[in-house]
């Protein structure tokens, strides 16, 4: 459960628990109250079906990502067609392509500008691990600098695989999966926002 779903649950429980009952046991009981879990689910349902992706296409995978958005594969069918090029308006960062050492600080910066709740899909071998570029100028996986929710394998992944990745993320949102990689993430030292 991430930060904002947590706060919704809390406010719901006080409004229910606001009827003079202060008993710890009841408090406990109210957490499992049908209404609160439902609200969470509704929010998750809305969230998962209206992801606004920011495509961070840097290389070949970015070209394949165009196909995912394009007419044949049509990401719109899964509610994620509102492509935003401003990180502040997006809640899903799709990193599609090689991230070089030179690009890494910029990627972190972009990620930091996104508002919670936010998710990251790493598309392709390069973004996930450096791919077949075990090379002096290539970051060996974006999870070294930002938290990743879904890794999509392939070089480039087929559009079907990317859709599958989006669906996997949707499941993750729907089932309120804990995301320790995100919760425990610390921005690299250089990227501490003053």
């Amino acid at each position: 459960m991430n930060a904002s779903t947590g706060s919704t649950a809390a406010s719901a429980s006080t409004s229910v628990g606001g009827t003079s009952v202060k008993d710890a046991q009841l408090e406990e009981l109210s957490r499992s109250f049908a209404f609160t879990t439902r609200l969470d689910d509704i929010i998750a349902w809305g969230r998962k079906n209206s992801l606004w992706p920011m495509p961070y296409g840097t290389a070949c995978c970015g070209i394949e990502l165009m196909s995912v958005m394009g007419p044949k594969y049509d990401l719109a069918r899964f509610g994620a067609e509102v492509v935003r090029f401003s990180p502040r308006q997006a809640d899903l960062l799709i990193v599609a392509g090689t991230i070089t050492e030179k690009m890494a600080p910029i990627l972190v910066h972009i990620y930091q500008q996104m508002l919670d709740p936010k998710y990251v899909i790493s598309m392709g071998a390069c973004a996930s691990s450096g791919g077949f570029y075990r090379a002096y100028h290539v970051l060996q996986g974006i999870d070294k600098v930002i938290p990743v929710d879904v890794f999509v394998p392939g070089c480039p992944p087929t559009p079907e695989a990317v859709l599958d990745g989006v669906l996997a993320l949707q499941r993750l949102i729907a089932t309120h999966q804990p995301r320790p990689w995100k919760d425990n993430w610390k921005a690299p030292d250089y990227a501490q926002l003053g």
């Binding site: 961070y56 296409g57 840097t58 290389a59 070949c60 970015g62 070209i63 394949e64 165009m66 196909s67 394009g70 007419p71 044949k72 090029f85 392509g97 090689t98 070089t100 050492e101 030179k102 690009m103 890494a104 600080p105 910029i106 972009i110 077949f132 570029y133 075990r134 090379a135 002096y136 100028h137 290539v138 970051l139 060996q140 070089c155 480039p156 087929t158 690299p188 030292d189 250089y190 990227a191």
Partner: protein, 561 residues
């Protein structure tokens, strides 16, 4: 070669006799080679340029031979668009030695020299802005030196602030100018380009670009992989038209090996290349248009691109990065009926191109946003090293498929469309016309698919078929030997070029006779073109930046390598 003798005679009259005795003339696989001492590079280049013997500077790069006393070679490749001859000039330099920059003669030498400095630490005296080009600003060392480890990463923790090239003519006149940064993450920069401008209202006062955000070390990777394993890396140079890169690379190695691929392989290569050219132009025009607000074109064109990808997928299973060529031919034959599918798709795409023509060519908004924007004269374009559609849009009819026909291009019927002003609109028109020509080529080839094998069967070059590997001991042994020993071209070097979708795509390969390239340098067409960007947009409106950027068809993969 008589022209080399001529050159020798003429040069002997312009340079000092004492140094001329050190010149070495030779011929290598059809190209003239001239080795000379570093002091003479400027007079010789000046002579060749000013007499018009060679009008194009195609490439400058370095090679490192650590065991030699003069450790580095600086290698220049010149080309003449009149005689279609090529000349390679090599200059040996010891560590710490400087060489004169040739930027006064060809502006296009600028980035090539900067790259050579970045990769090898070779300094060019008199270069206007000799700073790093591809590696990040905190990177220490020169990665293409043989003593730099391929996987020694160095982290970067910041981006450079907005900066401009030093310009002696620049005057601070007290106006308040607004610096503006575009990219490297910006929807109109297609990947990883960074553009920095200084604005006076809407007008661009100064502009600069920064490269290297997608520097994936292609050349170092090539040095650490066997010849055939380099092919997938070439796919990822210009990933919008991957087969063109595969063909260009394999053709280079084959030429060094002295083999010719069978007619069927040639036919397949041509089909793949021309289809790739079509989709490359589709991406270029589609993206150019979408950046200027024409979303329909983008979606409409991409339907046809999908169709070509479907063809590629049928052929080999991959859509984008096909890697279907092998040194010596193709990896496999086309499945039954594939050529008919191609014919069918070509018909559909032709309709699509006609529709595109109707949608854009007469569209007022499109015309107003592109006509007169980014115009460039033929001479300027040549000085910068333009090739391909951008050069042809400026009125120079140069296409390697005609000029120096390889494979069956010589027997095919097609035109080389040219423009006149070199502006964004002409570039667009040239690309549309080229798509039609490419479709014509594909049809001609498809109608006449040669019989025979899809690859040569030389045991030292091509792996045996799987049925032989698993079916008999010879096949197994052959496979084993080739994998263990690797394909080994003879010692030597070669520069070979093909007509890529963006222009001349050249590979310079140095072989030391081992199983891996000693040095593989690629001359990416958009690299030379992009150099002129700052000059092209200065004085224009900020909105034109996007239109010019799109028309240059910059693919970060080949730009940064």
């Amino acid at each position: 070669m008589h022209s080399l003798d001529n050159l020798k005679k003429e040069l002997s009259s312009v340079v000092k006799a004492t140094t001329f005795s050190q010149y070495k003339f030779s011929e290598s696989l059809g190209h003239g080679v001239l080795e000379l001492p570093k002091e003479d590079i400027v007079p010789v280049i000046r002579f060749l340029r000013e007499t018009g013997k060679f009008d194009f500077l195609m490439d400058v790069c370095g090679v490192d031979y650590p065991e030699r006393q003069k450790r580095f070679d600086v290698v220049y490749h010149l080309f003449s668009s009149k005689t279609y001859q090529r000349l390679r000039i090599k200059v040996a330099l010891a560590e710490g030695e400087e060489i004169d920059s040739i930027t006064p003669f060809w502006k296009g030498a600028n980035w090539f020299e900067r790259e050579t400095f970045d990769m090898f630490g070779i300094r060019f005296r008199g270069h206007p802005n000799l700073i790093k080009l591809l590696t990040h600003h905190q990177f220490v060392g020169h990665p293409l030196r043989k003593d730099y480890d391929a996987d020694a990463q160095q982290h970067c923790d910041s981006a450079l602030p907005i900066h401009f090239e030093p310009d002696p003519n620049y005057v601070e006149d007290g106006r308040s100018l607004v610096p503006l940064n575009i990219g490297p993450s910006h929807p109109a920069t297609h990947g990883t380009l960074r553009v920095m401008v200084e604005l006076d209202g809407e007008k661009i006062h100064r502009a600069n670009v920064e490269l290297g955000y997608l520097h994936r070390c292609f050349e170092k990777m090539a040095e650490t992989h066997p010849y055939n394993q380099v092919i997938p890396y070439t796919d990822r140079l210009n990933y919008c038209s991957a087969p063109l890169n595969n063909v260009a690379y394999c053709k280079t190695v084959e030429r060094l090996l002295g083999v010719e691929v069978p007619p069927k392989a040639q036919a397949m290569r041509i089909i793949l290349s021309e289809l790739a050219r079509v989709i490359d132009h589709i991406v270029c025009i589609g993206a150019n248009a979408v950046d200027l607000g024409a979303l329909t074109t983008f979606f409409h064109l991409f339907t046809y691109r999908e169709k070509v990808y479907t063809l590629f997928e049928k052929l080999c299973g991959a859509r984008l990065t096909v890697a279907l060529t092998r040194i010596g031919g193709m990896a496999q034959d086309a499945p039954p009926g594939w050529f008919n599918d191609v014919m069918q798709t070509v018909k559909e795409i032709r309709k699509g191109v006609d529709e595109l023509d109707t949608l854009l060519s007469g569209n007022k908004i499109w015309i107003q946003r592109t006509q007169g924007v980014g115009a460039i004269s033929a001479d300027e374009a040549i000085a910068w090293g333009y090739t391909g559609p951008c050069l042809r849009a400026a009125g120079v009819s140069l296409d390697l498929r005609k000029a120096d026909p390889y494979y069956m291009y010589g027997q095919l019927d097609f035109e080389v469309p040219i423009g006149s002003t070199g502006d964004v609109y002409d570039r667009y028109l040239v690309r549309v016309a080229e798509m039609r020509e490419s479709l014509k080529i594909v049809e001609q080839v498809c109608k006449n698919i040669p019989e025979g094998d899809y690859t040569i069967r030389d045991r030292g070059i091509v792996l045996p078929e799987k049925k032989d590997v698993y079916g008999n001991i010879e096949g197994l042994m052959n496979h084993f030997m080739l994998i263990i020993k690797g394909l080994r071209p003879p010692v030597g070097e070669i520069y070979d070029a093909t007509e890529g979708a963006n222009g001349e795509l050249g590979f310079y390969l140095v072989s030391d006779g081992s199983g891996r390239p000693y040095r593989l340098h690629v001359r990416p067409p958009c690299f030379a073109i992009y150099q002129s960007f700052s000059q092209q947009v200065t004085g224009g409106l900020v909105a034109d930046v996007i239109s010019v950027l799109g028309s240059m068809n910059l693919i970060a993969g080949e730009l940064d390598r």
